[in-house]
Amino acid sequence: MENEHPVGLRAARRAYELGRLRVSLLHGMAGSALAAGVAAASVGWRALVWVPFTLLVWTAVEWRGTWLMRGARRGFWAGLVTLLLPLSVLRPCCRPGMDMSSGTCCTMPEVCVAVGAFVGLSLAVLVPKAPIGHRAITAVGMGLGVLSVAALRCAPLLLGEAAGLLGGLLAGVLAANIARAWTDRQKARG
């Protein structure tokens, strides 16, 4: 049969993967450039040290595609929201202009957890309507999308604050996806 060509099929598959990688890299660069622009304007230039991480994650999820990519694209917008959070929200006991080394300024990682969880939970409205078998990968995609951009926000934060923000975001994304799955099941039941 003329279409039984395993060598040709493999070569076409290789061409597909390379073509997809090229397109993914372009998409990744566009997404990273947008996130870098927002981060530079709102957080400062030092946030840009995390841009390679954003580019790596975006290229990978765009190359993998399907529900991982769809989830990540939604998470991207929530990640952008975290870039706009002022430091006074993440560190409420430290007034603007106060120096951390003065001893009068404190960190409150629990506030970062709460803010992260709030942003993560607000993603419930953006969770794509994925088929049952693809919900977990969609949630992973959302988590990766939000983390890849929120990482830029962590540059000026202390370790505990950064971990709190990212952990809160992940917990929020997970809870939003579980809530969405539960409400879909309730709707299906009638």
Partner: protein, 179 residues
């Protein structure tokens, strides 16, 4: 095995463009015989296999750029035609005598069953491409093909609309210099 419908091909290509690799193999198996048929009709049997293979690699290399919702066959044939023409040009430059006639000519007789199938599919693919254009562009192309009366416009305005309609059709075909 049942021949997949054009709607199925459109769906498979849309899924592949989104990164769903499970659509790759059925799509390859459905498109490869078409590429062979086209290449054989245009280049003859000697070059057909090579042309079809390089066309398939080109199609799949650009699969991620395909816009879901558009018909796949006009896009596919535009890529294949481009690749076949490029291969023919390379060969004719190397050995004009071996290749013979100019590249736009058919290498099979008009009543060849494969050619008839191919011509019908090319015609339908072009029809689908034209149908997916906006009304104004579709009307102008229909007028150029002599199917409807030329719209009541002065000559420069008509030429401008024709040029715009062709540009849209070319965009639909993926920016290729499709036939």
């Amino acid at each position: 095995m049942r021949e997949p419908s054009e709607d199925e091909l459109d769906r498979w290509m849309a899924r592949l463009a989104q990164g769903d690799r499970s659509a790759f193999e059925p799509l390859f198996r459905a498109l490869h015989p078409r590429a062979i048929r086209f290449a054989r009709a245009r280049l003859g049997p000697d070059l057909a296999a090579d042309a079809a293979q390089s066309s398939m690699e080109r199609v799949f290399a650009r699969a991620s750029e395909f816009t879901p919702g558009r018909p796949v066959l006009p896009w596919f044939y535009a890529v294949v035609a481009n690749e076949v023409r490029a291969l023919a040009r390379r060969h004719s430059a190397r050995d004009v005598a071996a290749l013979g006639a100019p590249t736009s000519e058919w290498k099979t007789s008009p009543d060849d069953p494969e050619r008839l199938v191919l011509e019908r599919e090319l015609y339908l693919a072009l029809e689908r491409a034209i149908a997916s254009l906006d009304n104004s562009s579709a009307e102008v192309i229909a007028a150029v093909l002599g199917r409807v009366d030329v719209p009541a416009l002065n000559a420069p305005a008509f030429r401008k609309r024709v040029s715009r309609a062709y540009a849209r059709l070319r965009l639909l075909l993926g920016g290729f210099d499709g036939e």
